[in-house]
Symmetry: C2
Subunit: 202 residues, 2 copies
DNA sequence: TCTTGATTTGACCAAGCGGTCAAAGGAACG
DNA sequence: CGTTCCTTTGACCGCTTGGTCAAATCAAGA
């Protein structure tokens, strides 16, 4: 199926999705126009619609591709590993995603901000199930005193919010810090805070 | 000046701004339409434009009103108070704003996500200056060992991101937690984490 | 070279959009 | 009751937008 695509088709679909990601992540779904996307992709608008049947289709394709990898960092959290190391590594993976894929993060943020009309069901099923599973693991670690007692759900929310903040609120962060790369500082802060919160000595 | 407004003018401007806040915070600037806003306000579109000269004007008025109070919680952080108490109280004030004014938070989030085209200058001046001032205070507390050493900027970012998360990503939070009110849990988490991070015993 | 299917485009369309305007309807006050 | 100013509206306009279509161009194999 996927192999039946021409080289030209592969290239153009890829170029279009990249241009669409630029526009949708920056202007939101309604704010982005097909003309902008076509222009950014270096194609005419009818030509763009030869590869994707509609604006909606581009957006859907982007969202689907995003969701394939969006949960990977949390999925990789290993209940058999060292608790503090695992949670810290998870947070760092998430921060790295904000650094390497800020557009994807903003695409996701736009979708959630608008009430997640296209992925609300996934949030309530796949995402909730995954978080429940990992929260159980963390709760277990707390119960056996391998980490300090803590609410696992809000811990996960705090990791999400903090790491995504550097992608979604990039402009604000750089306005305050003076446009130096904030990620190294964020990474160090993350390590310091998480180890301090979770270390079970008391 | 402001007193020269009729009762009807006051009421309608207020109703329009409320409807505009609903729409802009949910759909973004481009995603919201004058017809939607007029409809939500219970007015005809020309009537709406009798009170505000343009869609842009409604949006600007909302942003200006927002910015009047947006920085208050941080402004109130008192360098003469007890360090941990002050920072914790600041975070709780910020969380309360997410609880009481989620639409304002989302309006702000939309603006920042899109690159802050209308308030970027404020971020680099007023906001930066305020943050610098308060960061100095926090750094001072760290230096004199009244709180544990910590990067004040990323501490502030973490408070922003965590507290605003419950307004901006409300749908996701409720999808995971099952639509129970998340704010009490968030508040307890905040208190626990901040005291633990900042307590200078070591 | 010819044919076939993939690719590209200029011209076009209908709907939705922000915004205008002249005229009608109300409210307050003498 | 009449005047004046505030308020409201239906009809309309020009522009942008997502999307269509027939025709032109191109690529590749027989």
């Amino acid at each position: 199926m996927a192999k039946s695509l021409t080289r030209i088709q592969q290239r153009n679909r890829s170029v279009i999705m990249d241009a669409g990601l630029d526009m949708f992540s920056q202007h939101g779904f309604k704010g982005a126009t097909l003309d902008q996307i076509a222009d950014a992709a270096g194609l005419s608008k009818p030509n763009l619609l030869y590869y994707f049947p509609s604006k909606e289709a581009i957006h859907t394709a982007l969202l689907e591709r995003l969701l394939e990898n969006w949960l990977d960092p949390l999925q990789a959290l290993d209940g058999a590993g060292d608790p503090v190391t695992e949670i810290l590594a998870y947070a760092q993976r998430k921060l790295k995603m904000s650094r390497d894929y800020p557009r994807e993060s903003r695409l996701f943020a736009n979708e959630i901000l608008q009430g997640a009309p296209r992925i609300k069901d996934i949030l309530g099923t796949d995402l909730k199930q995954l978080v429940d599973t990992k929260a159980d693991i963390i709760r277990g670690w707390s119960a056996t005193n391998k980490i300090a007692p803590i609410d696992p759900y809000h811990l996960i929310f705090s990791i999400w919010s903090f790491t995504q903040h550097y992608a979604d609120f990039d402009v604000q962060v750089r306005a305050v810090l003076g446009s130096d790369d904030p990620f190294d500082g964020a990474s160090a802060f993350l390590e310091h805070v998480i180890t301090r919160i979770l270390s079970p000595n008391n």
